[in-house]
Amino acid sequence: MEMDSLPNGNNTTGTPIAAGAGANPTAPPSSNLPQLTESLKLEHQFLRVPFEHYKKTIRANHRAVEKEMSAVISGVTDAAAADFSPDDAVNHLNSLVSRLQGLKRKLEEGSLAEHLQAQKCRARIDHLESADADNLSEWNNTRLKRILVDYMLRMSYYDTAQKLAECNNLQDLVDIDVFQEAKKVIDALQNKDVAPALAWCADNKPRLKKSKSKLEFQLRLQEFIELVRAENNLRAVAYARKYLAPWGATHMKELQRVLATLAFRRDTECATYKVLFEAKQWDYLVDQFKQEFCKLYGMTLEPLLNIYLQAGLSALKTPYCYEDDCTKEDPLSQEAFRTLALPLPYSKQHHSKLVCYITKELMDTENPPQVLPNGYVYSTKALEEMAKKNNGRIICPRSGVECNYGDLMKAYIS
């Protein structure tokens, strides 16, 4: 699984948020604050997706307006230039007026859509700003649910995602509407229909071109292969001349390989060309589309769940986690998590971190470790409690060896 560094999205939105959270005058100066700021900086996707969606809606509305306006203006100039009879002129002008009224309606709808999306962006910024030391556990809980919804959307479990969002009032904080757009394309691709996908590519042509995306080319190739599969060779050649030729300059090798299928036919046994006819090619197209889609909206290429789990499991993984007496508070005591963590690296520490076997608390300078004569170590707090209850006798819970509190030796560990 490849993890990419989170896209360095709009830094202008990223830093003011972090600064805002840190400079909040009413927040208590707790040690959690820098950690909170760091965790907020990981939320690029959270802010970028509604913003990109908003930009897209604005652009689409703008284009529609331009189109209608230029049509109306040219209609007016035509009417001025042409020699119309009074009735014809009135009719012509009436049609232009109704066209303008239609435009007004569309503008109103477009404005409403834009307003809703701006509100969504605002809601997300507010949510990030609302994170502070008081409601931290609740905020973390919301984050966990957001991560789960993101995973479900990416794996195409749209209904479950919708249900989870509704139960927890997360609708503004998750991108279900954005993924509805993807759903149409993905469903069509799974039914071996490239039309919606091509329409999507046409809609987003400038940005796909900027990122040098091959998606349109691959969609066209697949259509070509389907034509060959149906043995419509003449149509296939015409198709190739029209749609595949422009891509020849940049992707000649691939083009040549696919064009060769004209010669090999759909039931060929030759391995290089057999693979092109397999149904798996459609799954590959779906994956490609998902990647381009996520890139376009500024989302991470892997689901957030995978990223956080990999980092978390690796940070928690120690050789002791795989032993039988691993405490059940450690997630790695569970079989499922252990299997997930197997290929991941072990955690690294530069300083000793010691945990008392009895109290499960950290043994540091305030609660130093003490050593029994047989080498077993426990925290001062635990040993003092034990001595109080047992008249100064210490019994090691693991080895059963007994000694007096006075026989203990302090260990100095930096």
Binding site: M1, E2, M3, S5, Q35, E38, K41, L42, N140, N141, R143, L144, I147, I307, Y308, L309, Q310, A311, G312, L313, S314, A315, L316, T318, P319, Y320, C321, C326, T327, K328, E329, D330, P331, S333, Q334, P343, P345, Y346, S347, K348, Q349, H350, H351, S352, K353, L354, V355, Y357, E361, L362, V371, G375, Y376, V377, R398, M409, K410, A411, Y412, I413
Partner: protein, 240 residues
């Protein structure tokens, strides 16, 4: 797996409405297991019920309740029971008494949390869901990892394929489940083959560092922290 948790949430719901019946029922049916794990939640639940009865103003009922349910704990928790008995004097007027702290709502919150903890303990489950613990660890681990990746942009090695993380990740103390000893001399983590050893001065080094510094146990060496002469043969292995 689902039904025990449903039961737990039902008990907690009832407690939110200050109704302790389901909780008491659960506690009495599991009293021996709870006693085994060393928890005093049964006493706490009965004390809370006692305070509730007191507030309703019936001293006799409260006394009777105490005699039935609090007396078994007399030997082990005499101090707590004495406090409760003192509050008998202010039946019905607890808020103006020195014992008004018994009425504070945070007691209910703490009791609910303790009950949740013990319930999960009896089920053999962790208190926090493993998923949320792992995600919290991930949130803390990602910033240093991302910084590393931004620095190492040239080198193509993916961190997931390494044997050990390339950067140290400092986790909160709640996420520290195992003792990790790092030798201050070699900066290596202790393993079964290379355990931590206690020197007679009280400082701890790993076995390999000690044998290196003492030239395989042949000579005395100075502890790097204090000017104490250390004999490798006198070093004791530690078990955290």
């Amino acid at each position: 797996m689902k039904s025990p948790f449903l039961e737990m949430y039902q008990i907690l719901e009832a407690m939110k409405n200050q109704d302790l019946e389901p909780a008491l029922k659960w506690a009495t049916s599991n009293s021996d297991k709870l006693a085994q794990s060393g928890s005093d939640i049964v006493l706490k639940l009965h004390s809370m019920q006692f305070v509730k009865i007191l507030q309703n103003g019936s001293r006799d009922e409260a006394l009777h309740y105490a005699r039935t349910y609090l007396s078994p704990f007399a030997s082990s928790h005499i101090a707590d029971i004495q406090k409760l008995m003192g509050s008998l004097l202010w039946t019905g007027k607890l808020d103006s008494s020195p014992y008004h702290a018994l009425l504070s709502p945070s007691n209910w919150d703490r009791l609910a949390e303790e009950l949740k903890r013990q319930f999960c303990n009896l089920l053999g489950q962790s208190y926090n869901s493993p998923l949320s613990v792992t995600i919290s660890a991930g949130v803390q681990a990602l910033p240093p990892l991302l910084k590393f990746m931004n620095v190492m942009v040239g080198k193509k090695q993916e961190w997931q394929t390494m044997n050990q993380l390339p950067v140290p990740v400092e986790l909160d103390s709640e996420l520290q489940f195992h003792s990790i000893f790092v030798c201050p001399v070699s900066k290596e983590q202790a393993t079964e083959d290379n355990p931590p050893m206690l020197m007679s001065c009280g400082h701890v080094l790993c076995k390999q560092s000690i044998s290196k510094m003492s030239k395989n146990g042949s000579k005395l060496f100075k502890c790097p922290y204090c000017p104490f002469d250390v004999d490798a043969a006198l070093c004791k292995q530690l078990y955290f």
